[in-house]
């Protein structure tokens, strides 16, 4: 058997695991590992400019591919800088393995230089964590970490590695295991047949059904099956912010995103529905609005791999714990067998009436029906930027986003027909996510258009990554929807604080983004008018080998609508414009 040092084992185990990229940043505690990477490891390492960006880049890589991302950081500040990205991944159930250096074992607990209790600090935001006690454990621990991160409800796993464990002069036998078993961890592999039968009966008997599908469908590889089920039944589908793309947005059965900034027709349909199939979703507060007013007539079927998601906020009438792909397969079979054996199938007339009602909602206030924003001003409306981008990219781009109004406009107006194309921080809402995530996506898909939709607030939270893009030639397109404000904050201040804009603008201190991009060796473009918009976007997207930073000035007065009315509102209580409400 081969003899390797702890540091070499880390490098080799990552290779044996088939890791494609390491996103990281060196420092004292991980120098042995970095040396091992340098000497004999073929995995490309992407040196970011801030550890937070390493986590987001790994995250973007993962969201766009389904493969677990890997982050390597040093102890202390390196580890704490990674925390926001770990929390971001945790909230959206993204598999990630984070290797953090730690001070030498004998110094732990002594407040040594760059010592932080990483296992402790990260505990509430990881799926699991390990502290390596001896080098021999490294291969199994790394295998376990990848297994835990990617299986069941995925999530980030931290491995904290004291420096002495990786020292080059002590070698141990190395063998990477093919698989690992954990007696205390066995995620569900199938849904309960009886429950699935019950669910399908309820679903088929529905007169006003809605399929409410989320990120879990994408992660669980259930998009195609879900699409098949919805088409077979001819039922409307709404998606959460995290689920966009799990059902084709251009299918007429798609009724848009739901929730706080969801589509009018989606929120109305949910509120009036009699049966809801919630799948890969968690009925979170940005969807449900006030819990005791949530969908008063609906029987709730809830499918999720994670039992804790079920009946946490909204009690499920028919809970099903299981992987979405197997449950959907069972459901499809069940729909067929009900039809064949018992001649039970959806009530076509009732479903037709339901569609008529939905189509009325669509016609009245649907965002895609006709513009729901005023087009009277000279200024570019943020919605127009997304609509134009959608046309120019033919809906085929990978779109990452930051957090704010621009994110909601992107979610509303870019129509995702495929899973893993829309990449945003839904659960944690992390400003600064979009750009580094786009780097990860572009590295995974070098031949595809990768666009980061951001705001002048968010982009400045990780703008240093322009340097990383120079170093590794990562030609993403940054669309900075520059409204000169922390727009989403401003919107709330307009609506709830009588327009007192406390600390939500920067008083003419924004950089010249064009020059800034150029300073890093990239292309900058400034766009002020609607006439320039489309040609500029076309031009930017045609420069395949250049990072293009588009600084697009948009109307700062624009608000995101619909917006659910809280507190105490139901899903159906929405502002539809500054003056109109349901």
């Amino acid at each position: 058997m081969e003899l390797l040092s702890g540091g070499e084992m880390v490098a080799r185990a990552l290779e044996d695991e088939g890791v494609e990229f390491i996103f990281g940043y060196p420092g004292g505690a991980v120098l042995h590992i970095y040396d091992a990477l340098h000497k004999n490891c073929h995995i490309p390492h992407i040196l970011v400019r801030h550890e937070q960006a390493a986590t987001h880049a790994a995250d973007g890589y993962t969201r766009s591919t389904g493969r677990t991302g890997v982050v390597l950081v040093t102890s202390g500040p390196g580890a704490t800088n990674a925390i926001t990205g770990i929390a971001t991944a945790y909230m959206d159930s993204i598999p990630m393995v984070v290797l953090s250096g730690q001070v030498q074992s004998h110094l732990i607990g002594e407040d040594a230089f760059q010592e932080t209790d990483m296992v402790g600090i990260s505990r509430p935001i990881v799926k699991h964590s390990f502290m390596v006690k001896c080098a021999e454990d490294i291969p199994v621990m790394i295998k376990k970490a990848f297994h835990i991160a990617a299986s069941g409800r995925p999530g980030p796993v931290v491995i904290d590695i004291p420096k002495d464990i990786t020292r080059p002069d002590e070698k141990f036998e190395y063998k990477y295991p093919d698989s690992v078993k954990l007696r205390s961890y066995s995620p569900s592999t199938r849904g309960h047949t009886g429950q699935i039968k019950k669910a399908v009966r309820a679903l088929v008997a529905a007169k006003r059904p809605v399929i409410y599908a989320g990120g879990g469908v994408i992660q669980g590889g259930g998009s195609e099956l879900l699409t098949e089920l919805a088409r077979k039944l001819n039922y409307p589908v709404t998606n959460t912010l995290m689920g966009l793309g799990c059902f084709p947005a251009t299918d007429e059965r798609f009724i848009g995103m739901l929730g706080m900034h969801g589509f009018y027709e989606a929120n109305m349909a949910m509120h009036e529905s009699d049966v809801i199939l919630g799948i890969g979703v968690r009925f979170d507060d940005r969807v449900t609005n006030t819990l005791n007013k949530f969908c008063p007539d609906a029987t709730i079927i809830h499918v999720d791999i994670d039992p804790t998601s079920i009946s946490k906020t909204i009690a499920a009438d028919i809970p099903i714990v299981g992987p979405v792909d197997s449950v959907l397969t069972d459901m499809l079979n069940q729909v067929d067998s009900l039809r064949e054996k018992e001649e039970v199938e959806p009530d076509a007339a009732a479903i037709e009436r339901w569609w008529q009602r939905i189509n009325e909602w669509r016609a009245n206030h649907g965002l895609w029906n006709e513009p729901q924003y005023s087009q009277d001003s000279e200024q570019i409306k943020p919605q127009q930027v997304i609509e134009t981008l959608y046309q120019v990219t033919k809906g085929e781009a990978y779109v990452t986003s930051d957090v704010g109004q621009h994110q909601m406009f992107a979610a509303q107006y870019y129509r995702f027909d495929e899973p893993r194309r829309w990449i945003n921080s839904g659960g944690l809402g992390t400003m600064g996510f979009g750009f580094p995530a786009a780097m990860g996506v572009k590295l995974a898909h070098p031949d595809r258009d990768v666009v980061c939709i951001t705001g002048e607030g968010s982009i400045q939270m990780n703008i240093q990554e322009m340097s990383t893009c120079t170093q590794y030639d990562i030609p993403v397109v940054i669309i900075n929807m520059n409204n000169g404000y922390l727009g989403m904050v401003k919107q709330w201040q307009d609506m709830q604080y009588e327009g007192r804009h406390s600390q939500s603008t920067y008083q003419d201190s924004l950089p010249d983004f064009v020059k800034l991009a150029e300073a890093y060796g990239h292309v900058g473009m400034r766009v002020d008018t609607l006439q320039e918009l489309e040609p500029a976007l076309r031009k930017a997207l045609s420069m395949k080998d250049k990072l293009v930073f588009m600084d697009i000035y948009v109307d700062p007065a624009e608000h995101v609508y619909p917006m659910q009315i809280a507190p105490n509102g139901s899903m159906a209580d929405m502002w539809l414009s500054k003056t109109e409400r349901t």
Binding site: R123, P124, H128, L182, S184, P307, T308
Partner: protein, 163 residues
């Protein structure tokens, strides 16, 4: 409602902090907690008492099960079970009080396990209610120090919590 949850978890550093952290993080209550190794040194058994409505207890149980270190969880209060809490208590005992306290201790089937000039140390085993009742009987004024292990419990009959 009060519940006794008993769980087996990996006997590994960090496992306990994950359980305790879960309660803090999600705003669940821990009324008592005890933990020790089992006959299998790779496993620890942790027993805790908590309270909440059925929904809450269900969430707590599910969240505990979700922890990677936790091997098994049972709610002992769902079936017939035996619970015990061990209490050591120092009470003032001088003059005529000595006899009185000894008598109370006997009634509760406790033992005086240490004797000082002016105090007794008493050991008492039982359910939480019994220990509470003893403290009440002795009277607050007499009590100097109380230490309790927290509830541990086991199912009655054939039911066992094992791998």
């Amino acid at each position: 409602m009060r519940r006794i949850l008993s769980l087996l978890m990996e006997n590994e550093p960090g496992a306990l902090s994950r359980v305790v952290g879960l309660f803090a993080q999600r705003g669940y209550n821990i009324d008592s907690l005890n933990v020790a190794e089992t006959e299998d040194v790779t496993l620890s058994r942790l027993t805790l008492t908590t309270h909440g409505d059925d929904r809450k207890i269900e969430q707590i149980t599910k969240q505990l099960n979700k922890l990677v270190d936790v091997v098994k969880v049972v709610d002992l209060t769902e079936g017939a079970h035996i619970e015990r809490d061990l209490m050591l208590v120092k009470v003032r005992a001088s003059g005529s009080q000595r006899e009185e306290i000894k008598r109370t201790t006997d009634i509760f089937r406790g033992q005086v396990i240490d004797v000082g000039a002016t105090l007794y140390t008493i050991q008492l085993l039982g359910t939480r209610d019994k220990l509470d009742a003893f403290l009440k009987a002795v009277g607050e004024a007499q009590i100097i120090e109380v230490v309790r292990t927290g509830v541990s419990g086991i199912a009655r009959g054939e039911k066992v919590l094992s791998l």
